[in-house]
Structures are given as C-alpha cells and as structure tokens.
Subunit: 191 residues, 2 copies
DNA sequence: TCAAGTGATGGGACTTGGTCTCATCAACCG
DNA sequence: CGGTTGATGAGACCAAGTCCCATCACTTGA
C-alpha cells in the first residue's frame, strides 16, 4: 500500500478500533495502529493529537450542532425546549455506521481510565457549549447550567438506548429528555 | 535534605503546585517536582500514579464521605435530601489550608486540558458514587442519576463560592443545592 | 513537455511520562 | 547486635508525543 491511498483518517480509526478490541487499549502502540493502516506514527499524529483522540473524532461538529440547535429554537422556547432542539440537531451525526461501531467503541472506552477521562471531558464540552448558547438567549447562568446538565444526561441515555434499539435518534433523544426533566420535576415533591 | 524527612507526600504536593504556578504545567517535569521536594522521580511515582494526580489527592476520601452521607440520611428522606446530606458530609474535608491553595490549584487545572480531563473524571466519580448510594436506598436509576448530577452541579458552585467568600462549607453547599433544585423545578414551567 | 510548487507522508532524533528491578539506608525489634 | 521492614535512590527501559527535514505524488503554468 503506497502513498496517496485515500481516507487515511478513516483507515486509522478502523485500525485503532480493531486493535483496541482485539488486544486492549494499553497493549496497542500508536505505531501499530499506523502500521495496520499502512501509515507511520508521524502521520498518525498529524491526524489525531494523541492516542485517545482516534476514538473521539467528529465531536467538534457536534459542538456546533448543539449550539446551532439552541440558537435556532423559537424565541418563545424555554431552556429545556431549546435543549431539546439541540439534541434533535445532532441526530444527523448518528449514522448507521456509527451505530455499528458504537458498542465496540463503548466497551473500549469503559475499559480504560484515560479514555473515560477523555469521554468525561467531551461531555463537559457538550454541556459548556449548551450553557453558552443558552446564555446568549437570555437564560440565567444557573438556569443554563441546570438545563445543560439535564441535556447531557438525556443525551447519554439516548445514545445508549439508540445503540441497543436503533430507530430515529431524534425521537429517542426527545423521549429521553422528557423522562429526565419529568424526573427532575418529581424530585422536588418527594421530600 | 536526607532520607526520612517526614511528609514526603505533602512536600511533593506543595512543590508541584508552586512549580505549576510559576512556570506552567507543561513546562514542569516530574523529575523537577521531585527534586524541589528533595526526592527523586521514583519516589514521586510511589506517591502518585501520574503527573496529574498530585493535584487531585484525597478524593477517595470524598467518595466515601459522599456515599456515607447518603447512606446515613433518614429513611424518610427523598433523593435530594440524601444528596444534601452527602454534600454536608464532605464539608470536613474543606479545610482552611485547602481554601488557601484552592485558587492557584483551580488556575492550574483550567490552564491545561489533561488536568481538566482528570477533573471531569473526578466529578463523574462523585456522581457515580452518589448514584450507587442512592440506588441502595431504593431510588430509581433515573432518579438517582438526576439527583446526583444536580448534586455535582451544586457541589461545583458551592466550591467556587466557598473559595471566594469562605464560611462554613456545609452551609454554602446547602444553599447551592437549594438554588439548583429550585431552578430545576422552575425549568419545567417555563415553556 | 517539463520545471516549479504544494501538500501529505516517511523517517529518525529527541524529550518526557511512566514502569520495573535491584541496591541502599534508616528505624524498629528481639 | 543482627535481622527485618519500609521507604528511598539509581538506572535501564518502553511508549507517547514533538520536531525537523527529506521524499514522493500530484498540480499548475509556461
């Protein structure tokens, strides 16, 4: 396999996921990932900033979609409705290919602390993007933080359910947010 | 400074915080931290599992206190009241010394992605500990997750306020949780 | 047709985080 | 006083990540 084979980045992602699944994250060297993809370590680090990032690609796009979903919600919408719009907006990124690799990817992440750290930071990033967009709509700092945290919780639950059962992600996310916010409201009365 | 000087761990923490503040986290090598503490790299890694952890010591104790606070709450208490008990339970760890170093520590963490990752994972750990303890009380999975996330949000806000204004952490945390949960309840009506 | 330019890649030196093993030394103990 | 224990020092070693420069495929313009 010579130079200029297309889709170097995709090949790296597939090679990494395969190797991590086969032999574990810690037992896989970056050079090995690159080799399986027909590339070298140098090229790997041109595409991904570190060993972890190969499992978390495309999340910048999600940040933009979340912010855009909130900004584009009707002016009359409250914070939670805007968060719902954000979750619906990212549905386009939940493709069949992503669903096919989802379980393996989740298993790898769960197996390693470094990867769970990266995942936690990504979720923090999602929340921060929503907080920022909500505040631009005039939502209070606290209101934005609460709504965003509930949104991230709903997103996590929706993702896990979508991996299991499939279907339209937007619909799954809507139901998850509904559940989460209803639960949050019910917590109040239960003292 | 020979062997057997006491408080090796504390010396490492202080040296690390000083060096990180003076010259930045990335520009500081573990060997340099150890040297300033009168120790070697080997000894550093006996006390902390990696370069980051020196900034996050004592959080295992917090996990136990959180779980214990929830387990020890009155049987009649709802999920949010149990979470309040958890936040009150960790107040003993918020000492004056910790408050003195808090701002520098936060500044260092904010300056670096690796450290923000570790921080995010620690918060996830707090939430997981509370979810676990809440479920043992019979709270539903979803109810536990929502209550725990709101609890972590309140904890973050309380910490930041306590660093600024001081006072009894338990009281600050109680007020923060009150605000957060009231805001969560108010979100529902605002559609 | 060919020479210059461009962008992705290869290759290797280098630093540092982190692991591992073994030697060393201080304190404690019988 | 000799043996044990526990923390430390010392150094080899590997992999992650950075950096610099050479190389090659392809494009462009004369």
């Amino acid at each position: 396999m010579g130079r200029w084979e297309p889709d170097a980045r995709d090949r790296l992602v597939r090679a990494a996921l395969d190797l991590f699944s086969e032999q574990g994250y810690e037992n896989t060297a970056v050079a090995q990932i690159a080799e399986r993809a027909g590339l070298t370590k140098s090229t790997y680090f041109r595409h991904f900033r570190d060993k972890r990032e190969v499992l978390f690609g495309g999340q910048d796009e999600i940040l933009e979609l979340l912010a855009g979903g909130i900004a584009g919600a009707p002016a009359s919408a409250g914070a939670l409705v805007a968060v719902e719009a954000a979750l619906v907006a990212i549905a386009v990124t939940f493709t069949e290919e992503r669903r096919a690799n989802g379980p393996r990817r989740l298993a790898v992440i769960a197996s390693n602390d470094e990867l769970r750290e990266r995942d936690a930071l990504k979720m923090t990033g999602f929340a921060a993007a929503m907080v920022d967009a909500l505040k631009r709509r005039g939502v209070s700092e606290l209101g934005a933080e609460v709504a965003a945290e509930l949104g991230v919780l709903a997103l996590r639950r929706a993702y896990s359910r979508w991996l299991e059962a499939g279907g339209d992600f937007a619909e799954v996310a809507r139901r998850a947010l509904e559940e989460v916010s209803a639960t949050a409201a019910a917590l109040e009365r239960a003292e």
